[in-house]
Symmetry: C2
Subunit: 331 residues, 2 copies
């Protein structure tokens, strides 16, 4: 048994792992729809196909990587419990998978996490261990819990099983783009993916290699992936917080995700918070979808950036948004 | 050529007309997804499958009947233009179909229609003729326009082509309920349908006859369908306005739709405006979907009424909601 570990090598995720993940998650997470809106196309001046991971169970693609990781662990022998560090979408994806496998789940979550995300994670049966960002050491707290309870950590993005799980989104995109239903006729289109640590982007890049090129999208000021891709080495963000796009704020690209994207992705795209909020509003008005700002950065890039081809596929990566923030976006 | 007319007989809509409609609309409107949420099931104490017509083009199922009606007219000879009387979803469905067929479209719309719905209808190329509810006679205005311009009226619900178009929703529901994807294992489940004049409910009832039973859902005080079904004859609402569920406020069931529902539907369900608003909030939080209050009455019935079986399918009929009202629902 190979327990998840942030130290797994970059060779750890291959396309075959994504196919294994697809078989594992089948029937347990949703095959999400691909949508297209004529008015949105007109507004953008290009064809935009939307892969609706905001309609995924738990409200984001994180349910895929969470399920794949927990299921893979259980195939090799049941661990005593699962540990995640997250204030949001990853917490819910892991908590749901652990509960379904009958495993206890502990989530280390900052005290200032949105109350709705905390409540949703608890409703999925996880135990929340809260810590104060200013005065407590999250990693030390997590390590102590893992030791004490024998928990296995599932990292938010930089692990082969997580990347493979998120990559199942790419298998569906490739099928939908080549199929006869919604999304048809988009073979070869670039795929714009909301990027934090790059787990979803790397997974989709591997899953669609040779058929589509991935472009990452990030908020202004937190464009570590775009700068890393330009530099050819991983560089970090200057700040840890300060964007409305909370779901995609990570310190720097992953040690496993970055080499995959350096090989397969085009130049990174960057949008402002204001553009992300406009994209949230367009998704509300034109698509009747709830998308969180961090999950709308790819749509914002497709709407407001010039450096893209005539047809693009974008991920709507998540829809777990505070009602007050959503009301502000659509006002 | 048989132009649409509110005087068409009750024998005018059969199941075969729905199959013809399905062939006409294919590729022009969306096959909408069926979704299910574990948390929503737990909350309701029953299994709820959601047919997401809020994700339909133009934001409601009205795109189906609009397309079928305009396409059917064009098969027999192109009319000089199309006329609709609507402040909302029907206007958009008809306007989109007319524009795609290269036909001018005139919509008679009250001056107090929501500005977003007016703007969306104009964006689809329709000419809006506004009238004052208090001082002008809508029907006389429409008749004068139809005469003057040779326009053909497409009624909002009480016409065989309209019912057949909306009924395509039922063909998809039956396939999805019997299929292997989302919604599987719901053969025989009752289908709760948001009902104004009953076009969608009658169409679904015909399309699923012998496989599912339809139940109508309406807002309190505008329960003309429930009272008509109980009485066995059509009875009218006492009021014309006064509910947040604007999409489903019609004076009384249709002359064509009612006999279909009297034969095929179970007892009508009634919910309060407050319950509809709660359903809007649950759809936001748990499904990341934008639903308008009138499009959420079926979900409200499934959540808050006891008189239903263990598994129900509900229509989320539309998602064209004013941002301020939506913000109020989710606050």
């Amino acid at each position: 048994m190979t327990p998840p570990s942030p130290r797994a090598g970059p060779e750890g995720c291959r396309r075959s792992a994504i196919e294994t993940a697809a078989a594992r998650i089948r029937g347990h997470v949703r095959r999400t729809p691909m949508l297209e809106d004529e008015g949105l196309n007109a507004l953008a001046g290009r064809r935009i196909l939307l892969k609706c991971e905001n309609l995924q169970v738990t409200g984001s693609f994180k349910a895929r990587g969470g399920w794949n990781s927990v299921a893979a662990l259980c195939e090799e022998g049941r661990p005593p419990g699962i540990l995640a560090m997250s204030s949001g979408n990853h917490a819910q994806g892991v908590a749901r998978a652990a509960a379904a496998h009958g495993l206890p789940c502990t989530v280390v979550m900052p005290t200032d996490a949105p109350s709705a995300k905390r409540a949703a994670t608890e409703a999925l049966g996880a135990e929340i261990v809260a810590y104060d960002r200013a005065s407590e050491d999250r990693d030390a707290l997590a390590a102590a819990l893992a030791d004490e309870r024998g928990l296995v950590l599932i990292p938010p993005f930089d692990h082969p099983n997580v990347i493979a799980g998120q990559g199942t989104t790419g298998l569906e995109i490739a099928e939908q783009a080549a199929g006869a239903g919604a999304g048809a006729g988009a073979e070869g289109a670039e795929i714009v993916v909301c990027a934090g640590g790059g787990g979803l982007a790397a997974g989709i890049a591997l899953a669609t290699e040779g058929r589509h090129r991935v472009r990452t999208a990030e908020p202004d000021g937190f464009d570590d992936m775009a700068r890393s891709l330009a530099a050819g080495v991983r560089v970090a963000n200057a700040e840890a917080a300060g964007s409305l796009c909370d779901a995609v704020l990570t310190p720097m690209p992953g040690a496993i995700t970055f080499p995959i994207l350096a090989r397969l992705a085009g130049p990174g795209l960057v949008v402002t918070d204001g553009e992300a909020m406009h994209a949230v509003r367009h998704a509300f008005e034109r698509l009747r979808l709830v998308v969180e700002p961090g999950g709308a950065v790819a749509l914002a890039a497709a709407l407001f950036r010039g450096d893209l081809p005539e047809t693009v596929i974008v991920t709507l990566s998540g829809g777990n948004v505070d009602p007050a923030l959503f009301a502000r976006a659509i006002a």
